[in-house]
Amino acid sequence: MAFRVSIGQYHPGTSPLHRLDPRTKAAGALVVCVAVFFIGDAAQLALGFAFALAIAALSRVPVGKLLRSIRPLVAVLFVLGIFNLLLVRSGHVLVGLGSLVITTGGVRAAVLYPLRMVVAIVAVAVLLLTATPAQLADAFDAALAPLSRIGLPGHELAMVFSLMLRFVPTIADEASAIVDAQTVRGASLGEGSPVRRLRAVIPVVVALLASSARHADGLARALDARCYEGGSGRRTRWHPLRFAVRDAVAAACVAGFCLGLALLA
């Protein structure tokens, strides 16, 4: 059993998008994700795709790699599209065979909704491909900074988030090693009735929890040894985040995209 890890798929590079401040990139991606929900006709969709193509090109990430990273989500969208096709009952009826009814509204939903989501997925994928997990954590930290100001552990949450990104591959490796070991010990994983399956995962899940706890112990020791004391006090940053002109340009581009959508509405 192979565990595929899709988080942290950073593609090293020096493109304009790579050099953007991670806060700008993350906020931009968020705005695009919201904006695509206002896409309602072909012209807007065309603008959306033009924007998606533009950022994909600017990121200089190989097309194949970009497509691979969005493929699983696009597959989900395709299935959702089919549901829309069969379940939406607005507009004229195009096909009516008993319970199978396809309407113009259904066709519109089946085509439009998934396609506009593709724009959002490309935006997020480009974000993940051009920002290192550490940069993402920095952006997250910045987003949570207001929490710290009112006394909540904003910085610590961001640290937890970045440690999570760091440990995903480690725990995934651990999980596949444990699955291997228990399989060879004759555990029947993924076979039989749901109850049997559930019982069969216990040897894997418990062992994995125990080994995660061991990692947590070690990690806590390492953080102590390296004098990590939370966000308080004297902590500095090697690469303090600074907004540059290109961040303003990027923000303007995203704003322009939103304005374009509004004008086409």
């Binding site: 290192t132 291997d180 390296r226």
Partner: protein
């Protein structure tokens, strides 16, 4: 205790108890000076890791006084947390598992993490990152993702991260336990440089030969300092060491054996000194020396002449790997098609032992997964116990018949009691309850854990957890036992124990395949396969693989020779006549005795 302003660490009558009643340190007094290199030895559970944590300010004692880099952190059991916090800024720790010490996803960022926490100015952080990465020879991997590095490289990242904090004391708690020889050597080199620069180095290790580089050796036993002195002084106390679960360094063991054989060499831990003495002793005998050493080497009973590949023809193969290729299809990171194995073939005759050696990334672990029928090869054929593994149904039939001891097998423990955990495998085989119980008892007896059957596996010590996991596999009575670095992280006593267990499994007729990074362990197997970058580059009996003409090639692929062979070559370089190809220390001692005209014992 004396007042010395230069001492970096000052422990005075320190006692430390863990919540569940174990006294980990019992009135320990120790003073370590700046620039001193101290090595801490001791069996598992002797308190050496606790001592390491106390030295780097991560554990405060219950009684006694602790002064670290000039801060009085604890006075007569009164802990001053503020002083500890200040002291920790100048103390560093590197421990066993590199995965747990790396906190970010970029090497350089990780090195910067400590200085960031200390509030160092950004420009200065940049300088330190560059400097320390250079010092551990990782400057080219500054932008790499640590999770893609080898164990040795990760450990060097962790060291660079500690060094970037400019510590005055650096504590290494078994840093090389999970590494290969090359990884360990590079860490030892860094330690030497540090001590020379005035950093106090505390090094906890299970490898006796590493202790020789220290200024002072401290041997822990049951929370107390049992022996302390220069390496020579400590290793000279034979009886003491054995009782403490330790062994002596290679040179010391060799000089013992030579003296037993009547050679006039001094007892020493120093390999160079021993070599000079042997070279000197061999001089007079040179003339009458006969050349037979080259051909017959030693009385190794398994050493039947004949080529290894034909050896398999008479006996049936338990594992046949024929021209196998395998690639991991990790679709989303764009490395599809990178072959982990390429055209690999090997045969493992029934009842034999095979060692697979190779660097990190050579394909060893993949080969084990294929042999365990966890995966089917992309091309070629793997046949285990007569069953081809191409079809999923056949692979499933093999599960339960092959025993797999993965790296750090203690990770597979999950049940509430040791007995339940060990019974898991036999029960999956569908055996009746009484047979399960019988096998469980037998396996626990074999690994020496009979008394712990009702304990929780998570309460056992590290070494016992490993034995418990191995018992869980042996209880299935596999005809084929596959082990991935089974010795990693064990102390000498644990290694000896595991060797005894494997010998007894083998006597029962099982076939054993193991991946190892110890050439000495490999030399003890019937056959050795050397993997490098997805290919088999050598295969054969240890005597063939470790033949002198392969020395350079093995070193080029990041491996080495068994210790005895290396010493033999070096002695020959020093003028001792031909010593043949001794694979073990006794063989080497015999060969030297013969070369010195003392004849075989």
């Amino acid at each position: 205790m004396r007042e010395s302003p230069s001492s970096a660490i000052e422990l005075e009558a320190v006692t430390l108890r863990y919540p569940h009643g174990v006294t980990a340190l019992d009135h320990v007094s120790l003073s370590i000076a700046a620039g001193e290199r101290v090595c801490v030895l001791g069996a598992n559970g002797s308190g050496k890791s606790t001592l390491a944590l106390a030295c780097c300010g991560l554990l405060a004692p219950d009684e006694g006084s602790v002064s670290l880099v000039g801060h009085a952190c604890c006075v007569d059991g009164q802990v001053d947390l503020a002083a500890y916090r200040e002291a920790r800024r100048e103390l560093g720790l590197v421990f066993q598992n590199p995965d747990d010490q790396i906190v970010t996803t970029v090497v350089a960022e990780d090195v910067a993490f400590g200085p960031e926490n200390l509030g160092v100015a950004p420009d200065e952080i940049g300088r330190r990152v560059e400097r320390e990465l250079h010092r551990v020879a990782l400057q080219e991997l500054a932008d790499a993702d640590p999770s893609r590095l080898s164990g040795g490289q990760k450990q060097r990242v962790a060291i660079a991260g500690a060094l970037a904090m400019r510590p005055r004391v650096l504590v290494f708690d078994e840093p090389g336990a999970l590494l290969d020889m090359r990884g360990r050597r590079s860490i030892m080199a860094v330690m030497g440089k540090l001590a020379a620069e005035g950093v106090a180095v505390v090094h906890v290790t299970h490898f006796m030969d590493e202790a020789l580089a220290a200024d002072r050796v401290v041997v822990m036993d049951h929370g107390r300092i049992a022996l302390m002195g220069t390496p020579e002084e400590v290793f000279a106390s034979v009886d003491g060491l054995r009782g403490l679960g330790l062994e002596r360094p290679f040179a010391a063991r060799l000089s013992d054996r030579l003296r037993d054989r009547g050679l006039d060499v001094p007892w020493t831990c120093d390999e160079a000194e021993l070599e000079r003495a042997v070279a000197h002793a061999a001089q007079p005998a040179h003339g009458e020396h006969t050349d037979d050493a080259r051909t017959d080497g030693a009385p190794a009973s398994s050493d039947v002449p004949g080529k290894a590949p034909t050896q398999g023809a008479s006996t049936e193969s338990v594992v046949s790997v024929r021209n196998v290729s395998y690639a991991y299809g990790t679709a989303d990171d764009g490395r599809r098609g990178r072959k982990a194995l390429d055209g690999v073939s090997l045969e493992v005759p029934a009842g034999s032992t095979l060692a697979i050696v190779g660097q990190t990334g050579s394909g060893k672990s993949t080969l084990l997964r294929l042999v365990c029928a966890l995966e089917a090869p992309d091309a070629g054929e793997v046949v285990v116990a007569g069953v081809p593994t191409a079809r999923k149904r056949d692979r499933r039939r093999l599960h339960g018949r092959i025993g797999l001891v993965m790296q750090r097998p203690e990770r597979q423990l999950f049940a509430q009691t040791v007995r339940e955990d060990v019974s898991f495998g036999p029960r999956n085989l569908g055996l009746p309850a009484d047979e399960v119980a019988r096998r469980c008892d037998e396996a626990l007896a074999l690994v020496g854990l009979s008394g712990k059957a009702d304990a929780s596996p998570f309460e056992l010590s590290g070494g016992q957890q490993r034995l418990c996991a191995i018992a869980g596999i042996l209880a299935m009575r596999p005809r084929l036992l596959v082990l991935d670095e089974p010795m990693a992280g064990l102390d000498p006593r644990g290694r000896a124990e595991l060797m005894r267990i494997l010998a007894s499994v083998r006597e029962g007729g099982a076939t054993i395949v193991q991946v190892t990074h110890s050439m000495d362990d490999a030399a003890r197997c019937d056959r050795v396969v050397v993997l490098d970058r997805s290919h088999v580059i050598m295969a054969g009996r240890p005597r063939e693989v470790f033949a002198a003409r392969h020395g350079q090639e093995l070193r080029d692929v990041g491996l080495g020779m068994p210790r005895s062979l290396e010493v033999a070559r070096s002695l020959e370089g020093a003028g001792v006549p031909c010593l043949g190809e001794p694979l073990g220390i006794d063989e080497l001692a015999d060969a030297i005795a013969r070369a010195c005209g003392k004849g075989t014992a």
